[in-house]
């Protein structure tokens, strides 16, 4: 059995045993609760927003938590001296995180289709969720590399939320509509993420769609290269006898 498959099965088993999968499902149920409480007859506007919150913060947190557990228990030390490549290690966590985001999408979409009218292209949404989750799982790696413990990971996440997520949402709800601010926001990955997710509702221009796609695809590639390159120093710091 290829080592990537072994790692994927192992990671899946661990997110179940460590209740990370359960927490992820609970969060999805909370999003369903939000949809239930939404009084708007058409939830097309809210739906991508919930996926935005899930695909960004939950993806960062999921990667961060699994690495944190491995660091805390010392299992990371022994993983680092096994015949697995660093690419396999990164891919395992990315694939599991993206799968969790897709599961959330599926649960929300099923609820929406049955109980609330929604006008979204599921497959566009699926692609968007996967790309946003991929990008942010890599952000999770970078933040974990530079976080000494779980508290410092949460602090780093807080900084990311403050710097990127909150401004993006403020602008999205037209609470901050200054022209310069709106233009500067195109530098933020969260702007690209929310743009791509709303593309499934057909409410954005093709120019914005191309911007969001390019940003997240190229950004993910660059982050992956960065995560690979800095994995060795992370391994040297966390591993060893």
């Amino acid at each position: 059995m290829p080592n990537l498959v072994v790692l994927l099965f192992g990671e899946f088993k661990r997110i179940v045993e460590y209740k990370i999968a359960a927490a992820s499902i609970v969060v999805a149920l909370i999003w369903i609760g939000v949809l239930y409480l939404t009084e708007a007859p058409d939830i097309t506007f809210f739906f991508p927003l919930l996926l935005f919150l899930d695909g960004t913060s939950m993806a960062i947190l999921m990667v961060g938590v699994t690495i944190f557990f491995e660091k805390q228990e010392g299992s990371l030390r022994t993983i680092l001296v096994t015949p697995i490549s660093k690419t396999d290690y990164l891919l395992t966590k990315i694939l599991i995180t993206v799968s969790a985001s897709v599961l959330t999408l599926v649960l929300l979409y099923i609820y929406a289709v049955i109980f609330k009218p929604v006008s979204l292209n599921f497959f566009a949404l699926l692609g968007a969720v996967m790309l946003v989750s991929l990008f942010h799982s890599l952000v999770g790696f970078i933040l974990s590399y530079y976080s000494k413990d779980f508290t410092s990971l949460l602090m780093n996440m807080f900084v990311y939320t403050l710097a990127f997520m909150i401004p993006t949402m403020l602008e999205h709800f037209n609470l901050l509509a200054h022209n310069l601010f709106s233009k500067l926001l195109y530098l933020a990955p969260t702007k690209a993420a929310i743009t791509l997710l709303y593309a499934s509702a057909g409410t954005i221009s093709s120019g914005e769609l191309i911007y969001a796609l390019l940003y997240l695809v190229i950004g993910s590639a660059l982050l992956f290269i960065y995560a690979l390159k800095h994995f060795d120093s992370f391994a040297a710091r966390e591993g060893g006898v």
Binding site: T78, L80, V81, A235, G239, G240, V241
Partner: protein, 284 residues
């Protein structure tokens, strides 16, 4: 097995070298002790040898091939035993071992190992329910599960009761008898004395002494025998040179005529050598 030549390493954020020109070899089938107080570069040396640090200067040859040319398959051949627990605590011992075992081509008979170490009956328990000693024994199973040809062990008996420490030391000796090679790092000089074929004492990133424990004891010990006896109701101590004692008539006269209380050779211990060479007291 390993040839280390003029090994130097500096951590990126440090100004000074942590490892300052190490030269040593580890021969196939021997237990080589790497000793020294904390912070002298033992861990860094081992991190380099298990390929966690790669940007070193100098040369390291593993099985006559430059270590730098090995890829992840290097880990197929080595086993690393840690001092601290390194398992997924919410999985059972059996699940932990099964997961890691799948990553290797060679697979050891881990059931037998677990039986020998007394943790087989607890294999279906979660590791979080294990005592510290059980986790340490499980660490050893983890290190051995690929039938490694080279084993790195860090304080393998720390946290074990004497009976389990004995079992583990016997397993280490059996591994050597079967041709295995070990780099052992420990502060327990009794373990070093019992297990190591050769030892190196590290001080400030360099090797201060390297030899067999026996030769080091000879070098640092007093080659005398001290006899305690009673003479005229008082206790008297006399020392004899060990090398000339067989022809020393005074010694034999004394043993024949006086009431001997004790006879001690003044052979030094590895603890004393550790303190002399490194300037720091060991734990045991």
């Amino acid at each position: 097995m390993f040839q280390v030549k003029n090994l130097t390493y500096k951590y990126p954020r440090n100004q000074a070298n942590t490892i300052k020109g190490l030269d040593f070899e580890i021969r196939q089938g021997e237990i080589f002790g790497l000793l020294g107080p904390s912070g002298v570069g033992k861990s860094t040396t081992q991190k380099i040898m298990v390929r966690l640090l790669t940007n070193y200067r100098g040369e390291i040859y593993y099985r006559n091939r430059d270590l730098i040319t090995y890829d992840k398959d290097y880990y197929q051949e080595i086993g690393v035993g840690f001092e601290v627990p390194v398992h997924f605590s919410k999985l059972t011992a059996e699940e932990n071992i099964a997961f890691f075992k799948k990553l290797y081509h060679n697979k050891a008979d881990t059931d037998t190992l677990m039986k020998r170490l007394g943790i087989y009956d607890d294999r279906k328990k979660k590791v979080s329910e294990f005592s510290k000693g059980m986790k340490i024994r499980l660490n050893f199973v983890r290190a051995m599960l690929n039938n490694p040809v080279m084993l790195f062990l860090d304080e393998p008996t720390i946290g074990l009761d004497p009976a389990n420490a004995r079992i583990l030391k016997n397993l280490i000796k059996e591994y050597r008898e079967q041709g295995g090679t070990i780099l052992l790092s420990t502060h327990l000089m009794n373990d070093v004395d019992e297990l190591c074929d050769r030892v190196a004492f590290m001080v400030d990133g360099q090797i201060a002494e390297i030899d067999t424990p026996q030769n080091l004891k000879r070098k640092y010990g007093k080659s005398t025998v001290e006899v305690e006896y009673v003479k005229d109701s008082s206790l008297v101590k006399t020392a004899f040179n060990l090398e000339t004692i067989s022809s020393d008539n005074l010694f034999f006269e004394l043993v024949r005529r006086e009431k001997i209380i004790s006879i001690h050779s003044n052979e030094t211990t590895l603890d004393d050598i550790f303190i002399k060479v490194t300037g720091v007291e060991s734990y045991a």
